[in-house]
């Protein structure tokens, strides 16, 4: 690297930073260890006009990591629709913001903490929730709801039970302590997530439109203040870590990178930040998230087109003797970077002190457009801010579908289509699949009613919180079926958007905007990049058609263990607006004798189904086709039925098909339930497809007998196919579905028991406790 160091210094007016005593020499190995390619290093040399110092190398490696730099996804993300009249803030900020009327706005975003959770499930998940909450309140919004979208390997493995139990505890403990209700989410179990759990947390916040504040370092001479918890050695290089594949020894290797969350401090920081923002003493605020002080400071400078100078000696640290490298890259939690108005430092300190927190001036906004780091006045890093934040090379990779997957998709499944006669056994098997069974064991550990605004909590198709002082509410859901995306990423992504929208209309909310979390394997592999591109294209098409622009999201790549990638999992977090919360309905049946109506078409589709995974152990076939126009008509029909008060319950048909969806409606019966039911299916469809096929675009509604004609008429007027399936039976009665060649017939109490007890039984005491090295005691 000698020739490079002889390049001429580009800005001679500023003394180039010298290596600190004890800095390792900048060798190709060290560069590689920082996850920086040769091409990228060349770019760095050009930007600096010299060899970077060790500190600068650390800064670049964090900022140019996949997590911060989006180098392999940026170009794809440009394909997503991001605009609509009601979008106040699109992608690029800490969170997206939409107008929900009455002068109110909702900030919302989803964020992944997959890798930290794989290493330490409890802290990984907890700090994931902490991070997404900070993204919300740094916009000036008060968090009002949390959702969590989770993926694990099958629960027959102790390790997976340990991860599942730890993650759920972490999500719960953090949100519960801060006092934000959980209103929904999803969890999916499939061997593809062995060793590579997905933990995506979504949050929504409420604000007055005028309270919106951005993460900008504007106003030359304004002080930059570190606020909240002190900086320790935790999570150093989490950002680059989150961009590497896990391997057998990750547990070992990643230990120093574990971050410990303190939800109590978060709660204080939340109150203090909102008070600061309202106080008018600050011009910008930003969470110190991935890559800590480095990314927050440089991004704030980048957004404002300004520069910053930071003095490391002034940063409040938890441990003595921390180097600038460590201070800049620490991912200690519950910290904020604030740009105060010059001369208002004391006011800022006073507000923080009231909340028993610290605020220290650590730097200043400059006009020289550089990211300048000093240690006791001596420069240790000096980088042009814009190239640092936006100069990261972005790549368009080659994408080719994997042959293996193509063959799986094209596999002939006709042999599985036609078991006849009594399908009650298969039905029992499906009900006791953790993917179908009740998720109550999870959300029982989440405070769902704090803030006394939860109209529909976890367990419904979508969560709904009312907006106090108005008639309105906001609804939210997260959805994605990784198997669909594995077998056909474009259709799978469309299906995810469609299911999210269906879940929203089922509670009576108008789908309004989307945040998304792209969870994929290693993008350098053509087969993986193909999945990414296809999924993004599918998401773009569906969001375009549904008029639900994407206001933000998160990308998590390299989700692989020993070279094996997860199912591509583009999680959709969708937000909807309810005009009158008093019209909201749930999915549980309401009263005996009500008519049960199916909206939408059932096709002969069993590809990628839970049935195949559960009964045959295979993931194969063509996933259910998605007809976006039909979905759109269905959404309008359901929305009308709910708003006009015709439907008394509405439920989306998803994993496990018609039979399982009916079961969910029956056992979730509110007054007096669980209800039996009498259903007769007339079409001559192959029994398995009929009962358990997962055709999209279907919703089950129930309505009073005297509303039946209006209900059917209104659906037809919207161009939606309707079938009268049957009637709600007596509480505790038979659960009976008859089809031409097959039947399901059992007591609804047995249905309820299977549905309720599956996950609790799997997560018995020891299942919850053991670290899960499955090997017995030697």
């Amino acid at each position: 690297m000698t020739e490079s160091s002889t390049r001429t210094v580009s800005h001679p007016s500023h003394p180039a930073p010298e290596p600190r005593p004890g800095d390792p020499p900048i060798t190709p190995e060290l560069v590689a260890d920082h996850g920086i390619s040769e091409e990228e290093f060349e770019r760095i040399l050009d930007i600096l006009g010299r060899t970077p110092t060790f500190t600068e190398l650390g800064i670049f490696s964090a900022m140019w990591s996949e997590h911060c730099g989006y180098k392999n996804s940026k170009r794809l993300l440009r394909l997503l629709p991001t605009e609509a009249p009601w979008v106040i803030q699109g992608p690029g900020e800490n969170a997206g913001v939409i107008d929900v009327g009455d002068g109110l706005a909702i900030a919302f975003k989803i964020e992944s903490h997959n890798h930290p959770s794989a290493v330490e499930p409890y802290q990984g998940a907890a700090t994931g929730v902490g991070g997404i909450l900070r993204d919300i309140f740094t916009m000036g919004a008060r968090p009002i709801a949390i959702l969590d979208s989770l993926r694990f390997g099958d629960l027959d493995s102790g390790r997976n039970r340990y991860l599942f139990g730890g993650v759920v505890r972490g999500v719960g403990d953090y949100g519960n302590c801060v006092g934000i209700p959980n209103i929904g989410g999803e969890v999916f179990f499939d061997r593809a997530y062995d060793g590579n759990p997905l933990v995506n947390a979504m949050a929504l916040g409420l604000m007055k439109r005028e309270d919106l504040i951005r993460g900008e370092a504007s106003g030359v001479g304004n002080p930059m203040m570190a606020v909240g918890a002190r900086t320790g050695r935790d999570g150093i290089h989490g950002a680059t870590f989150a961009s590497e594949e896990l391997s057998e020894d990750s547990d070992e290797a990643s230990r120093p990178q574990v971050q410990v969350g303190d939800p109590f401090t978060e709660k204080l920081l939340l109150e203090a930040s909102l008070e600061l923002i309202r106080s008018g003493h600050i011009v910008g605020i930003q969470d110190m998230g991935a890559a800590g002080l480095t990314s927050s400071a440089s991004e704030m400078a980048g957004r404002a087109g300004s520069g910053v100078a930071l003095e490391m000696a002034d940063v409040p640290v938890r441990e003595a003797g921390m180097t600038p490298y460590e201070i800049l890259l620490s991912e200690s939690q519950e910290r904020m970077l604030v740009v105060a108005k010059r001369g208002h430092e004391e006011d800022v300190r006073a507000i923080l002190a009231r909340w028993e927190l610290e605020a220290e001036t650590v730097g200043i906004v400059t006009d020289h457009g550089r990211f300048e780091i000093l240690e006791n006045g001596v420069p240790v890093a000096d980088i042009p801010a814009l190239p640092l934040t936006d100069g990261c090379p972005t790549y368009e990779r080659e994408g080719v579908e994997s042959e293996v997957i193509r063959e799986l998709r094209e596999r002939d499944l006709s042999t599985f289509l036609t078991p006849q006669g009594d399908l009650t056994g298969q039905f029992r098997l499906l009900l006791s699949s953790p993917n179908i069974a009740s998720k109550r064991w999870i959300y029982d550990q989440y405070d769902t009613t704090v803030r006394t605004s939860t109209v529909v909590g976890p367990g419904g198709d979508a969560g709904v919180v009312r907006l106090r002082g108005t008639r309105r509410g906001v609804a939210a859901t997260t959805d994605c079926n990784g198997r669909y995306c594995y077998l056909n990423p474009r259709e799978g992504a469309k299906a995810a958007v469609a299911e999210a929208a269906r879940n929203l209309v089922c509670v009576g909310a108008l789908p309004t905007a989307v945040t998304n979390n792209l969870n994929f394997g290693n993008p350098l592999k053509p087969a993986i990049y193909f999945q990414m591109r296809e999924a993004v294209l599918g998401m773009a098409e569906a969001c375009q058609l549904f008029e639900t622009p994407v206001t933000g999201g998160n990308v998590s790549l390299y989700n692989e263990t020993d070279g094996k990638a997860i199912h591509p999992t583009p999680v959709i977090g969708m937000v909807g607006v309810v005009d009158d919360v008093s019209t909201v309905i749930g999915h549980g049946f309401r009263s005996e004798g009500d008519a049960i109506v199916l909206l939408g078409e059932t096709r002969e589709e069993i590809g990628a189904s839970e049935y195949l995974y559960r009964t045959e152990g295979i993931v194969a076939g063509t996933p259910p086709t998605v007809d976006l126009m039909a979905e759109r008509r269905l959404q309008h029909a359901v929305l009308a039925l709910v708003q006009k008060g015709l439907a008394r319950s509405a439920h989306d048909c998803s994993e496990g098909g018609l039979a399982c969806a009916l079961a969910e409606c029956a056992v979730s019966g509110t007054e007096g339930g669980p209800f039996g039911l009498e259903v007769e299916l007339h079409e001559r469809l192959a029994p398995v497809a009929h009962f358990f096929g997962e055709s999209t675009g279907r919703v089950i509604v129930s309505c009073a007998e005297d509303k039946l004609d209006d209900t059917l008429a209104m659906a037809r007027n919207h161009g939606v196919a309707t079938r009268l399936l049957g009637r709600i039976g007596s509480p505790g009665g038979r659960f009976r579905i008859k089809a031409p060649q097959a039947t399901i017939d059992l007591s609804v109490h047995e249905v309820a028991a299977l549905y309720q007890e599956t996950i609790p039984n799997l997560m018995s005491e020891d299942g919850k406790l053991t670290r899960g090295d499955d090997d017995a005691v030697e």
Partner: protein
């Protein structure tokens, strides 16, 4: 003034049920450990303390236990005092 390292052990009153101990008991059994039992789980709280003498350090620590660290209704406590190593003393400031 000398530095002392105090170790406080706070344990559930015998007789009172200890759900966590019981759960660990079961977990160990299900991991195949035999001849294991009577698991009790408590807290250990390590404190660095400046005091004139070991006696004074102990007295103050016990007072802390009565006042704050242990709940007299459900918990017993035990205090151990040892001269602190300078390293530990260093850690002190960092915690505040």
């Amino acid at each position: 003034m000398n530095h002392y390292q105090i170790e406080v052990r706070v344990t559930p009153r015998p007789g009172l049920l200890d759900p966590e101990g019981k759960a660990i008991d079961h977990a160990l059994a299900s991991l195949g450990y035999e001849g294991v039992g009577g698991v009790r789980v408590g807290k250990v709280i390590v404190i660095e303390l400046e005091a004139a003498s070991e006696e004074q350090a102990r007295e103050r620590a016990e007072e802390m236990c009565r006042k704050l660290l242990a709940n007299p209704v459900t918990e017993d406590f035990a205090v151990e005092v040892a001269p602190a190593d300078p390293a530990g003393a260093g850690a002190r400031g960092s915690e505040r």
